[in-house]
C-alpha cells in the first residue's frame, strides 16, 4: 500500500514538468507580455529605462534560458513574484485556493448525492414516468451551460426570491462568530456549488442508472435475495456497492474538468477563488501568476486522481495492490 502511494506520487513529477513546459510555450506564443502591460500602464517611454527594466526582469534573455530558470526555481518551490499583487505568487494563490477547494468539494458532494440518488431511483423505477423524468432532467442539466444555469439561478433564487446572496463568499461588514461565519459561507455557497454540481450530477445519474441495471441482473443479487434480505438492503449493500465502481472512475476523470468549470462559475458568482485570479492574471498578462495557478491546479488534480485510484483499491478487492 505504501509503495503504491509513493509510486503514484512519483508519477506526478514528470506530469508537472510537462505542464510547465507546455504552458510556458503557450504563454510565450500569446501576443503581449507582462512587460508590455507594465510599461504601458506606467507610461515609460525612455528607451534606456526600458532596456534597464528588460534586463531587471530577465526578458532580454532567450526564451529557453527563461524556461530553464523558471523550472529551476519551481524545483526550489519558488513560483516567482507577482508585481501586480506585490506579493509572492505562492502566497497569493494560497490565499485564494481555499475558496476554490470549498466550491469544488461542495460541488462534488452535490453531484454525488444528487447524481447517485437520481440514478438509483431511476434504476429501481426503470421504464416508469419517474425514470423518464430523471432522464429528462439529466439531459437538461448536461446540456445547459453552467454559466447560463448560474445566471438563471441567480435571477430566480437571489434576485426574485431573495433566498440566497447574488455573489461573493462572505457578507461584507458583518463581524460574526466562527459558527456564524461558517453558516454565512455556506449560505453564499449554495448557488455556485449547485450550478457547478448539477452538470456532473447529470452524468453521474446516467452512469449510475446503467450501472445499477447491469449489476441487478448478476447472480449474486439473486443470492442476496435468496438469503431473505429486504429489497432495500439488497439494493444498498449488494447492487449499489458494485454499481459505484464506475462512478468512482468517472469522478477521477472529471476532477480536472471540474476545476476548469469552477473558473466560469467563480466569474458568474464573483467567488474569490483561483478561477477569478486566473482570469484577472490572463487579462493583465501576469504570467508568473498564470503559470503558478496552472501548476498548482494540475498538482491538485493529480493528487485527487491518485486519491481516487487508492479509493478504488479499497472499494474493489479484485484489484491487487502490486
Amino acid at each position: 500500500m505504501r509503495r503504491i502511494i509513493i509510486r503514484r506520487l512519483v508519477q506526478i513529477i514528470p506530469l508537472i514538468f510537462a505542464v510547465i513546459v507546455m504552458n510556458f510555450v503557450l504563454i510565450h506564443l500569446a501576443p503581449g507580455s507582462l512587460f508590455d502591460v507594465m510599461t504601458s500602464e506606467q507610461q515609460i517611454t525612455d528607451p534606456a529605462m526600458l532596456d534597464q527594466l528588460r534586463h531587471t526582469y530577465g526578458v532580454d534573455q532567450p526564451v529557453t534560458v527563461q524556461l530553464a530558470k523558471y523550472i529551476w526555481s519551481v524545483m526550489r518551490l519558488d513560483l516567482g513574484y507577482s508585481y501586480r499583487q506585490n506579493a509572492p505568487v505562492f502566497d497569493v494563490i494560497m490565499q485564494q485556493l481555499p475558496a476554490t477547494l470549498i466550491l469544488m468539494l461542495a460541488a462534488i458532494g452535490i453531484a454525488l448525492l444528487v447524481g447517485v440518488t437520481a440514478g438509483v431511483m431511476a434504476s429501481i423505477k426503470v421504464n416508469t414516468i419517474w425514470d423518464n423524468l430523471i432522464s429528462l432532467g439529466a439531459v437538461f442539466f448536461f446540456a445547459a451551460p453552467s454559466f447560463w444555469l448560474g445566471i438563471m439561478m441567480t435571477v430566480m433564487f437571489a434576485v426574485k426570491l431573495g433566498w440566497f446572496p447574488v455573489g461573493g463568499m462572505r457578507t461584507i461588514g458583518v463581524d460574526e462568530s466562527a459558527i456564524g461565519a461558517v453558516l454565512d459561507v455556506m449560505h453564499h455557497l449554495v448557488l455556485p456549488a449547485t450550478a457547478l454540481g448539477l452538470f456532473y450530477a447529470a452524468t453521474f445519474a446516467r452512469v449510475m442508472r446503467a450501472s445499477m441495471l447491469e449489476v441487478a441482473r448478476l447472480d449474486f443479487v439473486r443470492t442476496a435475495r435468496a438469503k431473505g434480505l429486504s429489497g432495500g438492503r439488497v439494493v444498498l449493500a449488494h447492487v449499489m456497492r458494485n454499481a459505484m465502481l464506475p462512478i468512482v472512475t468517472l469522478l477521477g476523470l472529471q476532477l480536472g474538468t471540474m476545476l476548469g468549470g469552477s473558473v466560469v462559475i467563480e466569474a458568474v458568482f464573483s467567488w474569490p477563488g483561483i478561477g477569478s485570479l486566473l482570469f484577472d492574471s490572463v487579462m493583465s498578462r501576469n504570467f508568473p501568476m498564470v503559470l503558478g495557478v496552472l501548476i498548482l491546479g494540475s498538482l491538485l488534480v493529480a493528487v485527487c486522481n491518485a486519491t481516487v485510484d487508492l479509493l478504488y483499491l479499497r472499494l474493489d478487492p479484485r484489484i491487487k495492490a502490486r
Partner: protein
C-alpha cells in the same frame, strides 16, 4: 392428480398444479404447466430434464424469485408447512427465504458478491434471521465454514470470492444456505460448473448435511449420475410438464416414459460395454410457443402412435408409487398385464 407416492409422513412441501408463464413479446408461454410435487423431511427429490424444461423456474417459483418480467406464477399453490407461499406478501416471503427454505445455485463463482468478504456475506445471512451480536454471528460463521469442510475457516472468513476456487465458493454457498437451519434446501444444478472430483465432494457434503439435519432436499440436475447418487425419488420434466415420477431404483430399472428411456440411454456409464454407442434422443425440444397438440415428445418418440398425436397424455399411476404421462407405456403395461393374466 397428485401422486400419493411419498414414502414418509406428511410432506413439508407440496406443489399443487403450479403454472408459471413467461410473458414475452411473442405471447404468453406456459413454461411450467400444471406441475405437482411433494417433498418430505429428510427426503431427496431430484428434478431432471434438459435445458429449458422448466426445472429451474420451478425452483425459483418456490422461492418466489422468478425474474419478473418475464416470468410469473399464474396458478396453483406452493404449500410449505401448511402455508401457501404463492399467496404470501413479499415481506412475509423474505422471512421464509434463507430461514425455512434456502437455495444454492449453478455457478458459485458468480453467486457471491465480489466486493464483500465471504465472512460478511455469511454473517449477513445469519443476522438477517437471528437476533445475535456481530461477534456471535462471526463465531457461528466460523462454525459453519468448518461444517462445510473449509480448512483454516477463521482466516478464510476475510477472503474475497475471487480468492477462492469454485468448489470452495460452492461450500461457502452451502454454508450460507444452511446457516439458519432450513427445513428445505433447493440445489439448482449445484455441481454443473465444477470439476468432476469436486462434484463428488459437494454431493457427498450435501448428503451428509441432509442426514444430520433431516431437511428436505430438492436437487435440480440434468446429470443422472448425481441423481443415482443422492435422490430418493425422481421427477422427470419435459417442456414444462412432469412426465414421469418414480422412486430412484425403479426409475433406473424400468423407465416408463419414452423420454426418460432416452435420457438413460444417452448417459455414459462405467458399466456400459466398450464400443457401444450412446443413444441420442433425435430431434429437438419443441418451442414453448409452438407446442404440438397431443404429447410434447411425439416428434422425438420412437414408439409414437396415433393417440399420442391427437390427445395429450395425463399423468397416471401406472405402477405402485410411480406415475407417467405416456400412452406407449400404458399400452405396454396393459399388454404385460394381459400376458400375465393369460
Amino acid at each position: 392428480m397428485i401422486m400419493g407416492s411419498t414414502a414418509g409422513p406428511t410432506p413439508i412441501l407440496s406443489i399443487e398444479n403450479l403454472q408459471v408463464s413467461l410473458f414475452t413479446r411473442r405471447g404468453v408461454l406456459p413454461a411450467v404447466d400444471g406441475l405437482s410435487l411433494t417433498v418430505s423431511a429428510g427426503e431427496t427429490l431430484a428434478i431432471v430434464g434438459e435445458s429449458g424444461c422448466g426445472k429451474s423456474l420451478t425452483a425459483l417459483a418456490i422461492m418466489r424469485l422468478l425474474p419478473n418480467p418475464p416470468a410469473k406464477i399464474v396458478g396453483g399453490a406452493v404449500r410449505f408447512m401448511g402455508r401457501d407461499l404463492a399467496a404470501l406478501s413479499e415481506r412475509e416471503m423474505q422471512r421464509v427465504r434463507g430461514k425455512d427454505i434456502s437455495m444454492i445455485f449453478q455457478d458459485p463463482m458468480t453467486s457471491l458478491n465480489p466486493v464483500v468478504a465471504v465472512g460478511d456475506q455469511l454473517i449477513e445471512a445469519i443476522r438477517r434471521h437471528n437476533e445475535v451480536s456481530r461477534h456471535e454471528a462471526r463465531d457461528r460463521a466460523v462454525e459453519l465454514l468448518r461444517r462445510v469442510r473449509i480448512p483454516d475457516a477463521e482466516r478464510r472468513l476475510n477472503d474475497y470470492p475471487h480468492q477462492m476456487s469454485g468448489g470452495m465458493s460452492q461450500r461457502v454457498m452451502i454454508a450460507m444456505a444452511i446457516a439458519c437451519g432450513p427445513k428445505l434446501l433447493i440445489a439448482d444444478e449445484p455441481t454443473t460448473a465444477l470439476d468432476v472430483t469436486i462434484q463428488a465432494q459437494i454431493i457427498e457434503l450435501m448428503k451428509e448435511l441432509q442426514s444430520s439435519s433431516d431437511m428436505g432436499l430438492i436437487i435440480i440436475t440434468h446429470d443422472l449420475g448425481v441423481v443415482a447418487e443422492v435422490a430418493d425419488r425422481v421427477a422427470v420434466m419435459y417442456a414444462g410438464r412432469k412426465v414421469e415420477e418414480a422412486p430412484v431404483e425403479a426409475l433406473f430399472e424400468r423407465p416408463l416414459h419414452r423420454y426418460t428411456r432416452g435420457l438413460l440411454g444417452a448417459t455414459p456409464s462405467a458399466q456400459r460395454r466398450r464400443g457401444s454407442r450412446l443413444v441420442e434422443i433425435t430431434g429437438n425440444v419443441p418451442a414453448l410457443s409452438d407446442l404440438p397438440q397431443g404429447c410434447a415428445f411425439q416428434n422425438r418418440c420412437p414408439d409414437v402412435f396415433d393417440r399420442c398425436r391427437a390427445e395429450r397424455p395425463q399423468l397416471a399411476s401406472l405402477l405402485p408409487h410411480r406415475s407417467a404421462a405416456c400412452f406407449a407405456a400404458e399400452k405396454e403395461l396393459s399388454r404385460d398385464a394381459a400376458a400375465i393374466g393369460a
